[in-house]
Amino acid sequence: MTTGRRVAITGAGTINALGRDVPSTLQAMRDGACGIGPLDIRDADRLSVQIGAQVRGYDEQAHFNRQQISLYDRFTQFTLLAAKEAVAQSGLTFEGAAASRSGVVLGTSGGGLNTQDENYRVVYEERKNRVHPFIVPKLMNNAAASHVSMEYNLKGPSFTVATACASSNHAMGQAFQMIRTGMADVMLTGGSEAMLCFGGIKAWEGLRVMSRDACRPFSANRNGMVQGEGAAVFVFEEMEAARARGADILGEVVGFAMTSDAADIVMPSAQGAERAITGALADAGLSAEAVGYINAHGTGTAANDKTECAAVAHAFGAHADKLMISSTKSMHGHLIGATGAVELLACIMAVRDGVIAPTIGYEEPDPECALDVVPNEAREAKVDVALSNAFAFGGLNAVLALRSV
């Protein structure tokens, strides 16, 4: 067990295909709602994958002015909206000494991919020789973290983590460790992704791991992942300070571990995943039996789901059959660099509200995924500890452990 200061979550915010804020997202998860539908993007007719979990009907002008839009890619906009909700819930302000003890660490994989895509069109397709002057500060992966720091006057450690599908978990793990070790007192953390543009989807099509109809994690008839977009941001705060000011504590982050498979650039390894799971428990000083729920990486690909189930079965032994494990990607899609952040909401719902989000789209049992995957309907259950798994391309694994307060 690693010792140090305790870390509370005192704020949460999100925007994703299931909802524009945390209450609506959690309600959608309870309802087993599906945010996946036909992609409404330019040139979708030239894509072979035409579905995604989009933030539909999003109007940037309803949230940001002209100057802001010229600097904020869609992924930055999503981040700022999620951060606004999280900071408001925490009730914190950042002035003077508190500002220099506060920072922001966020995950993203594609960063300003929409901005890149649009401007490649401008120079390559439209043959223009001039682009808008702010393309670089708009597309850079750290743009979102920087704008959050400016918006809230966060003057402590701030940076961006890019580890593909594990970006958010790695980011939140860093935030957790910084508060635990005393590097910071408050960290805004989570992640954002907006990859649903022509070039973004076209690149993913090439790997031939995308489903053309639905995301069905753990189901024998699963046929691939479905991409989503959005953001989730949390306020992590030193526990005693949070208690002293009477903050509403959503949950406690108690453990984190990261491992690498050191094996293959795309195929996952059960061993690497298992080491991250057992590492997070060891870091938290928890026994395997303490875990009631796991929010799975659960991409809906053949390879991930069977590998992840094997890792869980091996890590937990007999207890694997007693815990619940669901993949909420079936509802909000795979948000790549933001996915762990949105999925932490399901873990908070489990430990705080006693509601387990389901794996929807589940149709046929798979003997290689023979765990309680909470098929199709949410369930009420008392859970003290939840884990959130993220296993990225490149074999980079990151697991967080959350406990009820």
């Binding site: 090439g206 790997l207 031939r208 489903s211 195929m267 053949a302």
Partner: protein, 85 residues
């Protein structure tokens, strides 16, 4: 274009072998081609013959595109060229 020769050339290149070392009876695993190598080979086939190959890496066995051997792949490509021309 000689479909057979071109398919063998693509597979051989992926396997880092000479075309003469690839026989119709070989399976992709015989040749050391893994799942990424397969996806890359299919891309090369689509580009070479201007066809679309129905293939999902999640369940290659269930795909209508038969990849059980080099001979099977040649047959499947010939069929797709016929269907899509």
């Amino acid at each position: 274009m000689d479909v057979r020769a071109k398919v063998i050339e693509i597979i051989a290149e992926q396997a880092m072998l000479e075309p003469g070392d690839v026989t119709p009876q070989h399976t992709l695993s015989d040749l050391g081609i893994d799942s990424l190598g397969l996806v890359e080979s299919i891309f090369a086939i689509e580009e070479a013959f201007d066809i679309s190959v129905p293939f999902n890496a999640n369940n290659p066995e269930d795909s209508s595109f038969d990849i059980s051997s080099v001979e099977a792949i040649i047959g499947a490509v010939e069929g797709l060229i016929k269907d899509q021309s």
